[in-house]
Symmetry: C2
Subunit: 457 residues, 2 copies
């Protein structure tokens, strides 16, 4: 293996867009999580699919690791160059290539960011629905199978990527899927690449589903005496076929913190934050129906509004949760968790997790995409304390074990990266070996994002 | 390779549930399509996942082909034992293992049929949405990535299979996915197996999404002066965010045939048949909105009703299309086609196809799942005429070429099987080689359903 020779050959191809300065390498060595830095040997700022293909051919010949880089907002260290090599910065490939309004799809390059796309679409009456919070690149969101608050209605990246262009380890440029809405023609390579975290190929173009902006939206929130009551309301709502657009759980601790941060006076009880999309009549009907359902579970203070300022107030609060945490726990490093279980097990796992956290010496407020059974407890490490980190790791470990015991998954939306590898065998059994077989078939030298997702030999 | 030795060893395992009589082999040698018969050497009626595992281990050792058999209703010859070997009859594995009402999912064995499942669910308020017409087995529907009239709203098998148990060629029993509604934990093996047509593994258990029975349903139909007007109405409806449950196109020729068969007097024009699901208020609102949209495209005779008998009348007509064809073209063999394109190209491809068929000497009325861009022209072969068959094959070929030229796929829902292999290279390019690499990694001896979907060396 000669990373050095790879660097020479790549710089012959893309000239000074291959950077080896310490400053730039350091920018591509960090993640938003608490993982240690890993410097790539060089950073390649690519401009085209053909360049990606050329670079991957070189890297396969030279046995040089390659890991794609987007906005660096991943939470499991996906984009860290664990074994050095090339960090492939995709952010120059930021063109929105074609909006097909009649078909409600769009073709984009992987460096296009989520907000950039929705700004571009604003006048079209269409929008791209997946919203993981961060203003991530769409290539990165596909690679990690991202989702967020709206996936209960509009789906995750899995449901919203129609087609891909990607480059294999040996430099072949592959097109998978098409703009047709469905197909039974062959293996679904698109769905295999979505969520493969850069280990099977580098995504160089995406065709994404768009949705029509609803005629009307309304937002609601209400409090519940218990977590169980909130979850039962969610189950009843989904069973009643209400096409709810957002359904977010916020625990009493977070409500308390938000009251301070956002100058609110909500009761310190578990809350649901909700959004309804549809026609004017339908959003009223949906809100009234959910209000009735919630009242059966002793909900209090049910408020809903289709006034834009009120809607914005509610969602601003929800989106500010992370900032509110950071302000409240100002001396803390935050560690995210990400389990997801069948909805019927959600109250139980949130209960047990809260209890476990309360019995520890650290804080861990909880919010959740409760319509999907996915929740995040954010664990607070004071002053980079080693002891707190150890406690957090243990709490997180027990949470993951609990999710698997209840028939769930260790990652609802953040991905595997480095952080969740240790649970893959338990979650997938011999299925994990099947993943390795596929990896070996498509990237026999293991140059693509080594050290992530798969068993490390 | 010793098929004979495999048969001896399998019969030692499952006793007289391994059948080698000509009568039973012949029952497993036919398809619903026009493909010639292929007799398996033996038929194994399996009772359990463990038996499937044992049989596959034997078949891998003995290099003996294995192909799963369900209801035999596939339309592309998927289940034909092209190279002989074992036909694995899955229909004894017909247990509905567990309904999880709160989570709206169900765990079934692969031999459970679609109607059996919905009968079983009747009292629960839940239903399984995928409806390909035939009363197929759920294992077969997953293997071929089936869909049908309701997929515009509820999705295809791809969206409705949450988790699988499957057995690999070497007999490993794999669980993929979970009952959690979403996951970012590793490669999506479930979506890889769905649509792999028995070439990567044998499905032995499925966890399926269920949907809540809507409070109200209404059905509608109306006529349009042109195909284009009908398609523009579809596009406008979807863009307006109407969550339409069914949206079926029926051409004027089919309307004429249905008038005779069902004693109706519809205008001989292109029609849309539609269904709306939701609350009582919402199905009225949806129908009125679509009526307004349709009127902008010169629709005539828009009728909608939420009365059950009227709904049933409309859908009975639509479901009777095949019988009506068979009665009208009583001396004919029917050949199905199955292209799917982006919706914006649908009017063009239906036009060109109709024109092509009119210029030929055979008949080919058209119906379509128009909300998905998928349509079927049924080509009529008179008295098993070789000449008609040749003309049909040429028409079908031009239709497939047209679909690919317009950015679509040669199969919207029937699958590849034998019939569509010749288009795989053109549709997928080097992506087809990637499929072969995956196949080789998981089934190196190619014992699983040889001769289908993949490049034949």
């Amino acid at each position: 293996m000669s990373i050095e020779r790879a660097i020479t050959r790549i710089s012959e191809t893309i000239g000074d867009r291959l950077k080896t300065s310490n400053a730039i390498r350091k920018e591509h060595a960090k993640s938003e999580a608490h993982y240690p830095e890993h410097l790539p040997d060089a950073v390649a700022f690519v401009n085209s699919t053909e360049e990606v293909s050329t670079i991957l051919k070189i890297c396969t010949t030279e046995n040089c690791p390659v890991v794609a880089w987007g906005t660096g907002t991943g939470l499991e260290g996906h984009a860290l160059a664990l074994n050095g090599g090339i960090s492939l910065n995709m952010m120059n490939m930021d063109q929105i290539l074609k909006v097909n309004s009649e078909d409600m799809d769009v073709v984009v390059q992987p460096g296009v960011k989520r907000e950039q796309l929705n700004d571009y679409l604003r006048a079209s009456g269409l929008f791209f629905s997946v919203d993981p919070g961060a203003n991530a690149s769409l290539g990165g969101m596909a690679a990690t199978r991202a989702s967020g608050t709206t996936s209960v209605r509009y789906g995750t990246m899995k449901e919203n990527v129609l087609a891909l262009q990607f480059v294999t380890a040996d430099g072949r440029i592959i097109r998978s899927g098409s703009r047709a809405r469905k197909s039974s023609s062959g293996y679904d390579l698109t769905k295999l690449i979505v969520g493969s975290e850069g280990t099977l190929g580098i995504i160089t173009e995406l065709t994404l589903k768009l949705h029509g902006r609803p005629e009307a939206m309304s937002a609601a929130l209400c409090a519940f005496p218990t977590i169980d009551a909130a979850v039962q309301t969610v189950i009843a709502t989904i069973q009643a076929g209400v096409p709810i657009a957002r359904m977010e759980f916020v625990d009493s601790k977070t409500i308390n913190i938000l009251n301070g941060y956002s100058k609110e006076s909500m009761d310190c009880l578990p809350h649901l934050f909700m959004e309804f999309h549809g026609s004017k009549a339908s959003v009223i009907e949906q809100a009234e129906l959910v209000k009735d359902l919630a009242s059966e579970y002793q909900a209090s203070g049910f408020k809903w509004s289709h006034r834009e300022e009120e809607r914005n107030r509610i969602w601003r609060m929800r989106h500010n949760v992370l900032y509110a945490y950071k302000a409240y726990y100002s001396n803390c490093t935050l560690i995210a968790t990400d389990v997801c279980v069948p909805i019927s097990k959600l109250a139980q796992i949130v209960h047990e997790t809260q209890h476990d956290i309360e019995n520890s010496s650290i804080a861990g407020p909880i919010i959740g995409h409760v319509g999907d059974g996915n929740f995040h407890s954010t664990l607070m490490i004071r002053n980079e304390s080693e002891q707190d980190l150890e406690i957090a790791n243990e709490l997180s470990h027990r949470m993951n074990e609990r999710a698997l015991r209840l028939g769930g998954t260790v990652s609802g939306e953040h991905g595997v990266g480095i952080g969740k590898i240790k649970y893959m065998e338990e979650e997938h059994g011999e299925g994990w070996d099947i993943m390795s077989s596929i990896k070996k078939a498509l990237d026999p030298k293991c140059i693509l994002n080594p050290g992530k997702l798969l068993r490390q030999n």
